[in-house]
Symmetry: C2
Subunit: 239 residues, 2 copies
Amino acid sequence: MSQLQRIAIAPSQLQAGEISLTKEQQHYLARVLRLREGDRFIAMDGKGKWWLTQLVGEQGQVLEALVVETELPVSITLMVALPKGSGFDEVVRCCTELGVTTIAPILSDRTLLQPSPQKLERWRRIAAEAAEQSERAFIPTILEAVAFSSSLSFANSHRYICEARGNLPHLKNCLQHQGQMTNDQELVIAIGPEGGWTQQEIESAIAAGFQPVSLGRRILRAVTAPVVALSLVSAAFEV
Amino acid sequence: MSQLQRIAIAPSQLQAGEISLTKEQQHYLARVLRLREGDRFIAMDGKGKWWLTQLVGEQGQVLEALVVETELPVSITLMVALPKGSGFDEVVRCCTELGVTTIAPILSDRTLLQPSPQKLERWRRIAAEAAEQSERAFIPTILEAVAFSSSLSFANSHRYICEARGNLPHLKNCLQHQGQMTNDQELVIAIGPEGGWTQQEIESAIAAGFQPVSLGRRILRAVTAPVVALSLVSAAFEV
């Protein structure tokens, strides 16, 4: 099973056991993956459903629904201040591999760059690819970029904001001691830009119920920190 | 203190409280960092010693030795099968930020690419830069690439080999239960190439005392896995 190729489909593509493949998907299956008539692949809808599927002409014929066990049992929202350059591509790719549920690109006081709609499309494509490659059942949601101050209200969640400096408790220890999460709770982790959050941002976050935490004594780059945080979260909740 | 710029020096550059700066370092300090006569910076020898230093002509005058607390209390050797392309640059950069002591590039059965001497120089430069930026006291050692089979003997160490598939214990749990390490012990973590280790490599590693472990249920890319492993190790041993 693990050797079969995976493609992500929109739920609307599947009707009555038939998946109508887009031109791009047909090209990918036939030219890139070199599948032939009757070959099998896995279609995933990005919402937790996988189907074993057979290539029949320009369609996929569903053979059976599959059970997957590659998702974490908790919902994780990662708020990441947008770094300059293309660093966010790697953040999206790595954090998708690590099981993130939602990524919220954040405009912070120290990074005001509003990304183009093309960027957002690009990150969503990267998330879909990384979900396939890492054999996830879900494709993470990439939200549109918003200002940090307007994105701080989360009901029913454990909230952490990572800071590079200061004598703060380590995220790992906080996760260990936060106690069991209920099914409808989520985990929210905020990671700052190069140069860190401003004092005012930290204070707003604390007022909104975020706990300031450390990722260790060394100074991590803005693109490394989300991967480290997600590594700790995945390991803490992996079943 | 944290605002001062850092440069890495060779131990031989320091004699009787004077650091004789190379042409490159002079250029870096004066042109890139824009330091002027009498300005202060930090010189680090990559072996745990830092000095507060003042720019005097083409030399650095040592003002005082500094105490640093950014190093992990254990020695960590990361064996990484060389990925194709430039992925190893990021592995070196991120793992240096996370506190690695030694990185051993590995030629595995599935990646036989012998890197050029230029590559090795490049990785060492990246490690030095990343050590500076992350405010480490040590610059990790980057070894020359060797075959996996000839690099398996480690005296007095805890050894783990990461595998993508199979029902294996999680590295995090193994680290938690391995017990206290003594001062002269080290931790060795081996990470495979895209496509994984061969069965024979796994068996040789087990015979050499490596314990097979998992980094989670999702399939990580070869360049993500070392960062995830180091994140868990750093968090486990951070004081």
